[in-house]
Amino acid sequence: MAVRVQREDFDCGAEIAALTAGRTEIGAVVTFSGLVRDSGGLASLELEHYPGMTEKALAAIEAEAVSRWELQASLVIHRYGRLAPGDRIMMVATASRHRQAAFEAAEFLMDYLKSRAPFWKKESGPDGGRWVDATESDEAALARWK
């Protein structure tokens, strides 16, 4: 169970390997990776966050996932700073005996992280900068976990 907030890139495969090393009771690992998506003319993406609160919010979300599903291991990594199209933004990984728990917990982590962790995205392109709006569907996604 770990949370990391960092400027540096990370290696999904190495993270999965570290999560599961020597853990033969794990049968299923689900990962989600978020990438900087260019829907047209994106030059860069600036990720701002709230140091201190970010780590606490992510740890609270992860603790909630651990209380709801039987997880052998979990991990949340989220970057901040300036990123280019195609760059990795974040990943979550969940490891469990069976696939159902791993899938559900990963989706739960993503849904909460999207609208409850203090990150904000500003896109820069040819027309200047634009703060990415939160979407109603992200807020609505939380309803299924109540």
């Binding site: 701002e48 709230y50 609160m53 993503m110 609208s115 962790a117 990150f119 990415v132 939160a134």
Partner: protein
């Protein structure tokens, strides 16, 4: 009167023109603080013009405008979060 650290993120930071400041306030709730700041200078009034687009954290925990300020060290204002 008490002394608070107030932080701003994303476009709230840009509109206020500060990422962090120390504020002397007599307000009893976050909403009172918003009103005080908005009355003080135009840039605050502009930043807080649409409170439905503003989220609040009190001592690094999500809160709402009615949250009391007694004993609080830090209040943060920011738009809805867009992580992931």
């Amino acid at each position: 009167m008490s002394e608070l650290r107030v932080r701003y993120f994303a476009w709230l930071r840009e509109r206020v023109g500060e990422s962090s400041e120390t504020v002397e306030t007599g307000a009893e709730t976050v909403r009172g603080l918003v009103d005080e700041l908005s009355a003080r200078e135009e840039r605050y009034a502009l930043a807080f013009a649409d409170l439905s687009a503003v989220r609040v954290a009190v001592d690094e925990e999500l809160a709402d405008l009615s949250a009391p300020l007694a004993g609080v060290r830090e209040v943060a204002f920011f738009p809805p979060m867009t992580g992931g």
